[in-house]
C-alpha cells in the first residue's frame, strides 16, 4: 500500500515538474543569452585555479614521495632483481623529468594566457622544426630504454641449458600452492592431472624413473646463492606465481608448463635484519598493536605480531578465495637447505605408506578422497 502511495506521489511530482517546465519554457522564448559562457572574470578565476592545481599536483607528488615512498619495494632479494631495479630507477627519473616539465607548461600556459577582452591569440599553426624535435627526442630516449630493457629481459627469461640450477616445480590449485623438488637427479618426473589419486595430489607419473626421488612439500625452501629454475603448473584455472621481493612472476597455465629462474641473494634471516625491513616490520607491528587494542575491546582476539617472511602470492584472479592464496618462501643457507630437504620423504614413499593395508599415519590424504578420485577417473575412462 505504501509503495502504491509512493508511486502516486512520484507520478504527481513528475507531472508537476513537467508543467513547471512548460511554464518556464514559455516565459523563456526568444531571449537566448550568453551568461553561461566564460567571461573575463571567469577566465581570471579559472586561470588562477589552474595555477593552484599545478601547485596541488606538485605538493601532492612530493608529499606522496615522502609519505608513501618508503612503502615501495626495494632492495631486491634476487640477483637479477638489481638489474630490474636499476632500469626501473632510470625510467622513473626520466618520467619525473617529463612529468615535471609538461605539467608546468600545461597549467602555467592555462594560467598565463587566460582570456582577456583585448588579448589577441597568436596565429601559429605549424612548425616542422618543433615537430621534428618532439618526435625525435622521445624516439631516441625510448630507443635507449628499449635496448636496455630487451638486454635485461633476455638475461632474465632465457635459462641456459648448461647452467647449474635446481629444478623445482610450483604447483597451483584453487587456493593453495604446493612445491615438488626434483631430488638427486635434478629432473622432475612427468605429471598429468589425469594421474591425480590419493596422496599423489600433483598427478605425478610414478612409473617415470625421474619421478622416483621427487619430493612434494607445502612450504617452499630454497638455498641462497644458487639459481632456482622454477617450473609452474596449474590444475584448474589460471594462477600467477608472484614473488614480489624477488622481482619474479609467471602465470601458471593449466595444460602447459611455464618457467622462471632466479637466484636468491639473501637468506630470510639476512633480509629480516636489513635496516629498512626492521623499520617496516616495527611500523606494521605498531599498526597491528593499535588494531589489537580495538579488537580486544570488542571481545575479539588480538592479532599476532608479525615477522617478515618471503611470500609466494597468487596474482591472477582465480576464484572467490583468490585473496588468500599464499605460500611461505624460506631462503636458507645451502647447508640448512640440504638438511631441511634430507629428512623429507619422497612421493613414492608417501604413496607406499598411504597404500599400506594398515591405517594411514600422518595427515596426508584420506581414504575417502582417494576412493572419490578413483571413481572420478573410472568415470572419465568410461567416456
Amino acid at each position: 500500500m505504501t509503495s502504491l502511495l509512493v508511486i502516486i506521489v512520484l507520478v504527481l511530482l513528475a507531472i508537476a515538474l513537467w508543467q513547471l517546465t512548460k511554464i518556464f519554457d514559455l516565459t523563456q522564448v526568444g531571449d537566448a543569452d550568453n551568461s553561461q559562457i566564460a567571461n573575463d572574470g571567469d577566465n581570471n578565476t579559472q586561470g588562477y585555479l589552474m595555477f593552484g592545481f599545478l601547485a596541488f599536483i606538485y605538493i601532492f607528488t612530493i608529499y606522496g614521495l615522502f609519505k608513501w615512498g618508503p612503502l615501495v619495494l626495494h632492495t631486491p632479494a634476487s640477483k637479477h632483481g638489481a638489474e630490474v631495479d636499476n632500469l626501473m630507477n632510470v625510467t622513473w627519473i626520466l618520467i619525473f623529468i617529463v612529468q615535471a616539465i609538461t605539467q608546468v607548461l600545461l597549467h602555467y600556459f592555462a594560467f598565463k594566457y587566460r582570456g582577456k577582452k583585448d588579448q589577441k591569440a597568436l596565429f601559429f599553426s605549424d612548425s616542422t622544426k618543433l615537430e621534428v624535435i618532439w618526435s625525435g627526442i622521445p624516439a631516441v630516449v625510448l630507443a635507449i630504454l628499449i635496448l636496455f630493457g630487451l638486454y635485461a629481459w633476455t638475461n632474465i627469461m632465457f635459462v641456459d641449458k648448461d647452467e647449474d640450477t635446481i629444478e623445482i616445480e610450483v604447483y597451483a590449485q584453487q587456493f593453495k600452492w604446493t612445491a615438488r623438488y626434483s631430488g638427486a637427479d635434478n629432473v622432475l618426473g612427468k605429471a598429468n592431472v589425469r594421474l591425480i589419486e590419493g596422496v599423489n595430489t600433483l598427478g605425478v607419473d610414478l612409473s617415470d624413473p625421474n619421478a622416483q626421488d621427487d619430493i612434494v612439500v607445502s612450504e617452499l625452501h630454497i638455498p641462497k646463492g644458487k639459481k632456482i629454475h622454477f617450473k609452474f603448473r596449474s590444475q584448474d584455472v589460471l594462477h600467477s606465481a608472484y614473488f614480489p621481493y624477488f622481482r619474479a612472476q609467471m602465470n601458471c597455465v593449466p595444460g602447459m608448463v611455464t618457467e622462471f629462474a632466479f637466484e636468491p641473494v639473501y637468506t630470510s634471516a639476512e633480509y629480516r635484519a636489513l635496516p629498512f625491513m626492521i623499520e617496516k616490520v616495527a611500523n606494521i607491528n605498531a599498526i597491528r598493536a593499535k588494531k589489537s587494542i580495538e579488537l580486544v575491546a570488542n571481545g575479539e582476539t588480538a592479532l599476532d605480531p608479525y615477522t617478515f617472511d618471503f611470500l609466494l602470492l597468487c596474482n591472477k584472479i582465480c576464484g572467490a578465495s583468490h585473496y588468500n592464496m599464499q605460500m611461505k618462501v624460506v631462503v636458507d643457507t645451502p647447508e640448512d637447505y640440504k638438511k631441511w630437504l634430507s629428512d623429507k620423504p619422497t612421493l613414492v614413499q608417501e604413496v607406499k605408506t598411504a597404500n599400506a593395508p594398515k591405517p594411514v599415519e600422518g595427515g596426508v590424504g584420506t581414504d575417502s578422497t582417494k576412493t572419490k578420485d578413483t571413481a572420478a577417473i573410472a568415470k572419465i575412462a568410461m567416456k
Binding site: L17, T21, F24, A32, S35, Q36, I37, N43, Q46, G47, F56, W68, L71, L73, V84, T91, W92, Q99, T102, Q103, L105, L106, F109, Y113, R114, G115, K116, A121, L122, F123, F124, S125, D126, P138, A139, G149, L150, W153, M157, V193, I196, Q235, D236, S240, P254, G255, M256, I284, I287, L313, N315, I317, A320, S321, H322, Y323, N324, Q326, A376, I380
Partner: protein
Amino acid sequence: MSAEGHDHAQDHEHEHHHKDTFITKYIFSIDHKMIAKQYLITGIVMGIVGVMMSMLFRMQLAWPEQSFKIFNVLLGDKFAPNGVMANDIYLALVTIHGTIMVFFVLTAGLSGTFSNLLIPLQIGARDMASGFLNMISYWLFFLSSVVMLSSLFVEAGPASAGWTIYPPLSALPQAIPGSGAGMTLWLVSMALFIAASLMGSLNYIVTVINLRTKGMSMTRLPLTIWAFFVTAIIGVVSFPVLLSAALLLIFDRSFGTSFFLSDIYIAGEVLHYQGGSPVLFEHLFWFLGHPEVYIVILPALGITSEIIATNSRKPIFGYRAMIMSILAIAFLSTIVWGHHMFISGMNPFLGSVFTFTTLLIAIPSAVKAFNYITTLWKGNLQLNPAMLFSIGLVSTFITGGLTGIILGDSTLDINVHDTYFVVAHFHLVMGISALYGMFAGIYHWFPKMFGRMLNKNLGYVHFWVTAVCAYGVFFPMHFIGLAGLPRRYYTNTNFPLFDDLQNVNVLITTFALIGGAFQLVFLYNFFSSIFYGKKAVQNPWRSNTLEWTAPVEHMHGNWPGEIPEVHRWPYDYSNPGHDEDFVPQNVPMKEGEEVLHH
C-alpha cells in the same frame, strides 16, 4: 556531391509534411541527433551503475569486512549478509564495473554519442549513410545493456572472472559461481554489443568517406571527425576478434569443445578437456582489448583537439602531425596486444617484440601532448568548463601515459604486472582521460544537442572536485602497486605484510567517495538544464565547424536550405587577415587570401 545534396534537401522538405509520432521521434528514431542523445542517456545511466559499483568495492577495500547497511540494501542478504560484502560478489562488482565502464560508457556512451552527433553535422551531411542501420545499432546496444544489467539478478551472481574473462575461470561454474548463468548473459550481452558497435562503425566509416559536403576534403576535416573515423576502423578490425573469442568460449562452455581448456582437475574430478590453451584466449582477447583502449581514448582526444583549438582562439598546432599521430597510434595499436601477456607463459622472444612495438606508441602520443601544450601557448584561453576538462584530459593523459613506459617494458612489467600500479596507470590514461573527454564533449555540445546551456558554475565545481579527486584516488594507488599489492584481492588482511598500506587505501576511498558524490552535481546540471537551461545561441563558442551553422532547433536534414559549402580548414582562429577571431569553414576565401599549407 552537390547534386546529391540538392536531392536530399528536396526529400527533406517533402518529409517535413509528415508529422513525427512520439514513437518515431523519440524511440525508433532514425535521426542521428536523436540517436546520439539516446546513446548519451543510456551511457550516463550505465555510468551511474558502474561508478556506484566502484564506490561499493572501494568501501570494502578501505574498511574490509565491515558491516555497511548500504551493502545489505543494494546487494541483498545473499551477497551482503549483515551488511558485510561477500568475497564472490566483490569479484563480481569489479568485473561488471570494468565491463560497463570500458564498453558501455566509454565505448558506446562516448563514441556512440559524439560520432553520431558530430559526423553528419561536421562533415555537412543530412544524416548518417544509413539511418535505419543506425537505429538498429542503438537498439542492439540498448538490448545488450539490458542483458548486462539483468545478469546482476542471476541467482548465482553475475560474471565474476574479471572483465578480461580469462578461461578456465570464466568457463567453469565449479571454479567460481559467477561463471554459470551470469557468464552466459555476459557473453550474450557482449555479442549483441559487438554487433551494435560494428553497425555503428561501418556507418561512420561510410558516412565520412561518401557524404562530405562540397569542399570538405579529408584534410579539411575537423580532428574530431578524424578521430571518430579512425576509431571506427580500429573497431571494425578488432571487435570481430573478440566476437570469435566469445563464440569459441561459448562452445567450450556449452558444447564440450576444448579451444581454451586442457588438463583440468577441479572439484575432485578430471574434466574431459584436452589440447586447448588459455593463452590462445588471451591472444584473441587482447587483440581487441588493446585496440579497445584506443577506441576509448581517440574520440576523447579528438574532442579535446576541437575544444582546445576553439577555446584557445588559435589553430590546433600541427594539424597534419595530429592526423599522422592518430593514424600511427591506430596502426600500432593492433600490434602491441602482447604487452598484456609478458608473463602469460608465451615465448619470451615475443615479449621482446611487443616491448619494442609498445614503446613506439609513446612517440605519437608525445607528439599529441606537446601539440596540445603548444596550442595553449600565446592563446586567448576561454576557460569554459569544456576547456577545463580538455586541459584536465591532457594532464591525466600525460601522467597516466608516462607510467605506461614502465608497464610496456617487459623487464619492468614482471614485478608490477597485475598489481595496483596497473590499475592506477590505466585508470588515469584511459579511464579518467576518456571520461574527461566525454564530459568536455557534453559541456561543449550540450547547446547543440538540447538547444540550451549547461550552468557554468556547476560545471566549474564539477571539474575542480573531480580533478582533485581523480589525482587523489589514482596517484597514491601507484605506490601501493609498487609495494607489490595484487589487484582483485577482496581484502589484504590475510597479508600482514600489507598492513602498512591500509591507511593509503582509506585515503583513496575517501577521495573516491567525494569524487563520486560530486558527479551528482553534474547529473543535476545535465538533467535540469535539458528543461530549464538558458536558451542557447546558434554558435555560443564562436566556433568554426559546420555544426554551428545549423539552426538551434533540430530538424531532419540538419540545414533548412542547402548544405553549406566548405572553403577552408576548421582552425582559422585569430587569422590576422580577418576582423573576427574566428572564420567558419563555410566562409569563402577572401581575394588574395593564402591557402594555408597546414
